[in-house]
């Protein structure tokens, strides 16, 4: 990794559902499992509350990566929320990939309230990935600022 990359501090937004992933992040915290401070968590009631517009908004405002975490499929507090979220995110990510935004900038991970370790591991690997991709310029420049 070059020196330049090391000074690059990515902006990463993590949407976490209240019941599983946010609690998983809490558990990572109380277990003192560290991950980079670049990750900032936004609490939503359920992964199905995450509107693709929020993700695009984050990118437009300069986020370098957006990750969404929810309960494991089958374990949604609202029974079915994450099934809808899964389809929405799959299609959105596919579209972003299609227009040439690096696929690694978006991720969905299912993290239960008991998976503090998984939460921290996930964030570590995601930040690492964003580091390898560098700053997100494409979505900010989708229309040439001629």
């Amino acid at each position: 990794m070059s020196i330049e990359n090391k000074s690059f501090r990515p902006k990463i937004v993590a949407f976490c559902c209240n019941w599983c992933s946010y609690a998983g992040a809490d558990l990572a915290g109380s277990s003192r499992l560290s991950y980079p401070a670049d990750v900032k968590i936004i609490r939503v009631p359920c992964s199905c509350r995450v509107n693709p517009m929020f993700i695009l908004r984050a990118f437009e405002k300069g986020a370098d990566g957006v990750i969404m975490c929810g309960c494991h499929p089958g374990d949604c507090h609202y029974s079915t929320g994450n099934y809808y979220a899964r389809r929405r995110m799959t299609l959105l990510f596919s579209m972003l990939d299609y227009i040439g935004v690096e696929n690694g900038r978006t991720r969905v991970e299912w993290v239960s309230a008991a998976e503090g370790v998984k939460f921290s591991d996930t964030m570590n690997s995601f930040v690492e990935k964003i580091h390898s991709l560098g700053e997100n310029v494409r979505l900010g420049d989708l229309r040439c600022r001629n």
């Binding site: 799959t90 299609y98 696929n103």
Partner: protein, 324 residues
């Protein structure tokens, strides 16, 4: 066309319908526009020819609120849109008298112009009854001829079929125009490198002038008020060219109609900048077909849309990176 006009007169006269929704001749030979006809006399301006590409389904949202039935002329591909609007409770089937009109492919004036044809005075061979494979074009520079197929809209080359999905009666013959595969162009782009993909879309999207023609014509974009016009998402920032709205408009618009878009192709047809907007919608359709099973919006009026549906073992979002 005459058969259509005669039948419309009959239905107006016997009170079955209160008005006719069709196309009216424009100022130029290639720009007929959607119009209401409320009397038999006014039907003298009615036209139906190769340039009548406009999908009239969306007009039925407003027509459904009017007194009495409206006769609406729907081409085969338009009927998908109408079905989708029924599914979404946006049109009233009881308020519509649908005449399924035949279609031999619709023409794109830009394609004619691109062949160096200028100063057009009249065009022959675009009538629905014409059997000719060639268009005879009178220009101020003399007569030119262009093959009908070479002047067709992109969407007609990948036509979904000439079957009307919903109608009260059918008038006029159709001719198969499909000579290409719907997803070929999407597949081609998918295979490009991220840099090439980005370059392609950046070039296309940079042309956008945000005239909203695509949104206004789209039968799926039927919201009373678009999210880009309301303050619900802090997304309407008209003054700022470099805003969220500007950059993400087409992606969000495509997402909003994903699973609802019938691929009628109107967005690309009306774009004054010639942006191939259907490539966004078709990408979603292709993904939906591949990931969740084949689905054609507007095929029926009661099936569950892909984005309001799920199976326990749907693909994970990580599949996007794995498909390569």
């Amino acid at each position: 066309m005459q058969e259509l006009i005669n039948r419309a007169k009959e239905l107006l006269d016997n009170g079955t319908v209160a008005r006719v929704l069709g196309w009216k001749a424009g100022d130029l030979p290639y720009d007929p526009e959607p119009a209401y006809f409320e009397t038999a006399e006014s039907l003298k301006d009615f036209v139906y020819n190769g340039f009548c590409g406009a999908n009239l389904s969306k007009y039925m949202i407003e027509a459904s609120k009017l007194e009495g039935k409206t006769l609406v002329c729907l081409k085969p591909c338009d009927t998908y849109s109408f079905n989708q609007l029924i599914k979404e409770h946006r049109v009233d089937r009881e308020k519509a008298y649908i005449i399924g009109v035949g279609c031999k492919g619709k023409l794109d004036i830009e394609k004619i112009r691109n062949q160096g044809v200028k100063g057009i005075e009249s065009i022959e061979g675009a009538e629905i009854t014409d059997e000719a494979d060639m268009l005879k074009i009178q220009t101020i520079y003399g007569e030119r001829s262009v093959a009908y197929a070479d002047a067709m809209l992109e969407r007609c080359h990948v036509c979904k079929g000439k079957e009307h999905k919903i109608f009260d009666e059918q008038i006029g013959e159709s001719k198969e125009t499909k000579d290409g595969e719907r997803f070929d162009e999407v597949s081609r782009i998918e295979k490009l490198s991220p840099e090439e993909k980005f370059a392609f879309f950046q070039k296309e999207l940079s042309k956008c002038i945000r005239c909203n023609a695509c949104r206004n014509v789209c039968p799926a974009c039927s919201c009373r008020k678009c999210v880009f016009d309301s303050n619900k998402f802090d997304s309407s920032q008209k003054a700022n060219v470099d805003s969220f709205e500007e950059k993400m408009f087409h992606i969000i618009r495509a997402f909003h109609v994903a699973g609802r878009c019938t691929d009628c192709g109107e967005c690309s047809r009306v774009c004054p900048q010639g942006i191939p907007l259907h490539l966004f919608n078709r990408k979603f359709i292709k993904d939906i077909d591949e990931l969740y099973g084949e689905y054609q919006a507007g095929d029926d009026t009661d099936s569950k849309a892909p984005l309001t549906n799920y199976t326990f073992d749907d693909a994970e979002p990580s599949i996007v990176g794995k498909r390569g």
